[in-house]
Symmetry: C2
Subunit: 417 residues, 2 copies
């Protein structure tokens, strides 16, 4: 599937042996999203035994349609350390943006191709409920040819899931856009989910372009009151079946997960996915541990993401402070990506020598009040420098403690390693 040189590059970036990488790849416990038609400077592997990875969503909305803003966000997300980006545009000019992102992004690019189908239907002033699998296939094919590296496919929500949702209602309903479109389609047409019904056709295409399938969780809880409910678990079981079908067809696959999870249910959620989905890489959104912090959901997500990564999540989708409120600004992207990096790093530092070493170095610079050294290793040097702007980098104190700096006071006591 991949050249020896390519795998060597990945294993050196990941600080794991090539043998380990190949073993995990063969067992399908890791994926390397990389469309055959696209080259990128910073490919990435995601899954068990590797560092925790981060994805950042960008994209135009029906209200916010400025292409340059989204390209800037992609660049900022990369500066802040995202490993992949997803273009989730739902605006008529989506095609132009995706083309630019695919040309400019150094990291893998993912999409939810059903959005394209929805926008095109909207353009034709047609209801999404009128679309056919052929419409979906055209979008998949066009995006595959354009070079998209991974597709979110919401094939786990079934006709019976929709009936179940009506029988056993939820606090948060459906909070997946792709899931909602398909649920409504099934609600109206009383037919099976076209993505599920035609899954083999999708796999053929994915195989041809080496596109990684990211199995979307249309039924992820949108409120912690719905955390780990039967709808979520029923869908997870379908996703487990689809994982096996992907593997049988030599298609790389990962599984998407919540969303909103009670703090005490995060470990079980990670274990369940690994069990039911045969240790496929787990790609989660958040998770959020509470619902009452709009404006600060990046922090809630760092909390949930850390615990989730510790218990086995492989890939964290960035949640920005704008979540639940608005289309994110450039600053929201910065804050969101850094929050996710904190989650990933809190776990990586326990598992990877180079991460531990880097963290140790910044501590040593801190103990010696070497500001330049600290800035170089900081998760966001720009913000750290900005916060020091009223002090010179030669000052051996900060404005917090001033001359009562504990490190300055004990400077001559020989306490430091």
């Amino acid at each position: 599937m991949f050249s020896k040189n390519f795998l060597k590059k990945i294993s050196s970036r990941e600080k794991v042996s090539k043998t380990f990488l190949e073993k995990q790849l063969n067992l399908a416990r890791i994926v390397i999203p990389a469309n055959k038609c696209r080259d990128m400077s910073s490919p990435v592997a995601i899954g068990e035994g590797l560092k925790v990875k981060i994805n950042t969503n960008i994209g135009l909305s029906t209200q916010k349609t400025n292409l340059n803003s989204e390209i800037k966000k992609m660049r900022e997300a990369v500066r802040c350390g995202t490993h992949t980006v997803m273009d989730l545009s739902v605006s008529p000019n989506y095609r132009k943006l995706l083309k630019e992102i695919l040309a400019l992004s150094p990291v893998p690019v993912g999409t939810v191709p059903v959005y394209e189908v929805a926008i095109e239907a909207e353009k034709r002033r047609e209801n999404f409920d009128k679309i056919t699998f052929d419409d979906i296939y055209q979008a998949l094919k066009r995006q595959a040819e354009a070079g998209v590296d991974f597709f979110t496919i919401h094939a786990g929500i079934l006709k019976k899931s929709v009936q179940n949702l009506i029988k056993k209602k939820r606090v948060g309903g459906i909070v997946s856009r792709g899931g909602a479109l398909l649920a409504h389609w099934m609600y109206i047409n009383k037919k099976e989910n076209p993505l599920y019904a035609n899954f083999e056709v999708i796999l053929e295409l994915a195989k041809k372009y080496n596109i990684t399938i990211s199995l979307g969780d249309a039924l992820r809880p949108g409120a912690i009151a719905d955390s780990t409910d039967s709808h979520q678990i029923d869908e997870l079981k379908v996703l487990g079946e689809l994982v096996q079908r992907c593997r049988k067809n030599n298609v790389q696959v990962m599984v998407e997960g919540p969303g909103h999870i009670r703090l005490d249910e995060i470990p079980a959620n990670m274990a369940l996915e690994k069990k039911i989905c045969h240790r496929a890489p787990f790609y989660i959104l958040g998770p959020l541990t509470i619902d009452c912090a709009p404006g600060y959901d990046h922090i809630v997500s760092a909390v949930g993401g850390t615990v989730a990564a510790f218990y086995g999540a492989d890939f964290l989708c960035v949640v920005t402070p704008a979540e639940h409120l608005r289309h994110p600004s450039l600053e929201d992207i910065t804050n969101g990506v850094i929050a996710s990096r904190i989650a990933a790093h809190s776990v990586d530092v326990l598992r990877f020598k180079d991460e531990w070493q880097k963290n140790l170095s910044i501590s040593k610079f801190r103990a010696r009040r070497d500001w330049r050294g600290m800035f170089n290793l900081a998760v966001d040097p720009k913000k750290a420098k900005r916060y020091r702007k009223d002090m010179s980098s030669a000052d051996k104190i900060c404005s917090m403690c001033g001359k009562f700096c504990s490190l300055k006071i004990t400077e001559k006591c020989h306490f430091l390693k």
Copy 2:
């Protein structure tokens, strides 16, 4: 120690029975910091079986000496939901600020009285190493009379701790200001810690004014490389002994804790304190799980604080984005307090019906896109409203998904509870 009416007020605020509150108080597993000389509108109980509490540090530094800014910060911290404030001023005009804070704060006020001793020595152009216990006692007495509700007393760092630190060096050394002053005093004078040597005298004073002793952890690690090291544990053992001495003298006591803890060592740290310190309330700073996020340490602290609270921490000290960089701004205080509230709420929601109910309500408003309902229950209504400023509260969508809002798409599908 407390009137029946006062305990009734506390038990109703805490949503626990008066019997439970009294039992915990008798077992000294909770404290209610409230100086006999001071009245306050929002007293609070801290400890086992109660909601997780939050403290915010304010105070003048040698570089930042504006009184009004600090009063504004106190008010903002209270608006954001802090349960106590500590005035940690180390500036010559500290006395005026403390007087104002004690007059204006609706919540308990704590201090580190040794700072006053250090500032007064500085005013006399005298070295801190020249001070005697009598100087310390004068400061304690003045602050007790002024109405301070809890004192941080760094009595756990001993003469031998200083020798141990020189023998077995650390990456982060000492990061406690009070601890550093006392360590240097012992390093120079080769005598025992005056706070430890005269602990009974301090207890007499504390008892007289009903001041809660918060046993400071002078040897808390200042880098995760030092997490759970022998210096930290040795001091914890001394604090455990001091807890018993406080209890024998009918003085309320809590124990302060790290600081910086590896994520995987947080559960053990909580269990150790509860064991070694005889289930005294645990008051922690952070903890931070990584060292490389200056500018975002409030997020790191929310991560560590959540896990710590889940495993038994009772009281979280706010860490602001300015930590390790500068004296915090008003905005830093907002972000810090909210981050700690997220940590506390992530745990409280699992343990207290009213917190669960509140969280459930906001989810229901969200599913119905009732913005006003959401704002009223948000952890920071001000920021949530600001983020919605380009949309009217009547709009049933946000600028993220626009017309492709999953909740709008499935509005008529009868999925919602």
